[in-house]
Amino acid sequence: MTATVIGPLHSDDGGQFIPPPVMKAVRARRVLPGFGLTMGLTLTYLGVIVLLPLAALILKSAEIGLDGFWQVLSSPRVLASFQLTFTAALIATAINAAYGLLMAWILVRYDFPGKRFVDALVDLPFALPTAVAGVALTTLFAGTGWYGRWLEPAGIQVAYTITGVAIAMAFTSVPFVIRTVQPVLESLDSQIEEASVTLGAYPFTIFRRIILPMIAPAYLTGCALAFARSLGEFGAVIFIAGNLPFKTEIAALLIFIRLEEFDYPAASAIAAVLLALAFIILFATNVLQARWLRRREAAS
């Protein structure tokens, strides 16, 4: 019955990719109810809403064949855009890793005036249409802006450089790290810390030895998600990037250009590569995370 609940399609696109033996293996172990129901719902929904359109996309990119695929991707301009997108996304993730952890920490652990307001602000980058965020950031960092006015005479050019691209990416993915770490931090048992404090441990030692391992899986997830989001960001970046070929042209813009040329297969090909890269990163993160969880379970 779950197959027909959501969406216009029947389950033949979604439910297939977990083969029956898997289900059997699970059934033997479970204590809790609801596996069939929740898993069925998850797979059906994922199939209809996410995998079906993606399959159509990959099907489209397959139209040009391997040769065509290779030709699209091996062009120096496309490669340069991948490199830029990757580097900028890494910088953006680093910014968010530091800022996000700090914010999650002070929002959960400390009390200060305006705390609720700051807590609320954190989600804003998601609610703002990305183009608006892009225009606002460019207004700040351009030579005439509040920041650019000071930075540019000092020789620091942000707008229309890779730094600007990274800042736009960082802005649009701010909530990820904060909001994944925050709930875990809130649920942490403070008695352990309390005990270590009374035992005379230094705050940083407590953080490193006790808290960090506890939040590490969530933290890593937050960073990986921020990175994945940065890879695909378009709206905010194009305003601040300057879009010079080989210099500040992001991969998503090349996809957009191919679409403007009605060249769906080429656009899909570039998109498919970004997709595969993101998938690999997310997968690796999830493997790492699972390992940590297992180690912790073994330890306790």
Partner: protein, 290 residues
């Protein structure tokens, strides 16, 4: 108040003040808070301030006029309705997926999680195009849909669909780390005592995950309301019919009505802040009751 319970600095004052390194902790705390606030001011508040500054650059009357014009009001209404449909669906999906993944062992789990996360990394425009490739006239089901006179693309249904796509990972992604960190001993105990699945969920799991669920929902709503790229591809941008607020903002901006565009954008900021205010109120209520 809930925050007191969650905030060890208050709940356990000795941790902050009486500990062996009481003084360093205190000053360290001050340094961290200051750093966080300064960075937030520079990084988050300033862009928002720019938006409001531009929005009011032609005075309050112009600000009001650009918001109360029927097209903008319709865009706000449409955005709210579509988000109100998309968000609850994704809450149900998020809870179900998190339950299946966190409470059971099965092969392919990591792949499944990664697949769920994929929409984060997809350029929204690509997401929109992917939907065109399925439901558009020349898409996979285009002919079948045309034969049955069902139109999905360029209607509000298409907007809902891409919103579902773009925001589908949020609730799962918020719930999962927490549910995994908490383990399932409590639920298993309840199950051995004969509780049904839904009872376990409501009485045991839900109280434990309510913050994360709330965060996930708020993020999901924020993202749904603000989504531009994917919606722009599938909405058809028919003014007064399928123009959402972010699309309306672009339209105004293109008309050299930057003040109007930013005014409309500022309403999104206000909507976001209201959502968050509601969150804070719920937090206090639940915190007070529990």
């Amino acid at each position: 108040m809930s925050m007191a319970a969650l905030d060890p600095a208050r709940a356990f004052p000795q941790a902050a003040a009486v500990g062996a390194n009481g003084r360093t902790t205190r000053s360290g705390q001050r340094v961290l808070i200051t750093a966080g606030l300064v960075l937030t001011a520079l990084f988050l508040v300033a862009p928002v301030a720019v938006i409001f500054a531009q929005a009011f650059s032609r005075g309050f009357a112009a600000y009001r006029a650009s918001i109360v014009q029927p097209e903008t009001l319709h865009a706000i209404w449409l955005t709210a309705v579509t988000a109100l449909i998309a968000v609850p669906i994704n809450m149900v999906f998020g809870v179900a997926a998190a339950w299946a993944i966190a409470k059971f062992r099965f092969p392919g789990k990591k792949t499944l999680i990664s697949l769920i996360e994929i929409p984060f990394s997809i350029s929204p425009i690509v997401a929109g195009v992917a939907y065109l490739l399925v439901y558009g006239s020349q898409g996979l089901f285009g002919e079948w849909l045309a034969d049955h006179d069902i139109r999905i693309m360029f209607t509000p249904a298409a907007i809902v669909l891409v919103m579902l796509f773009v925001t589908s990972p949020f609730v799962v992604r918020e719930l999962l780390p927490l549910m995994q960190a908490q383990g399932s001993e409590q639920e298993e105990a309840a199950a051995t005592l004969g509780a049904t699945g839904f009872q376990i969920f409501r009485r045991v799991t839900l109280p434990n995950i309510r913050w994360a669920l709330l965060y996930g929902t708020v993020l999901c709503s924020a993202r749904a309301i603000g989504e531009f790229g994917a919606v722009s591809v599938v909405s058809g941008r028919i003014r007064g019919e399928t123009n959402t607020l972010p699309l309306q903002i672009e339209l105004l901006y293109n008309d050299y009505n930057a003040a109007g565009a930013f005014a409309a954008a500022s309403t999104l900021t206000v909507i976001a802040l209201i959502t968050l205010l509601i969150k804070a109120i719920i937090e206090r209520r639940i915190g007070g009751a529990g």
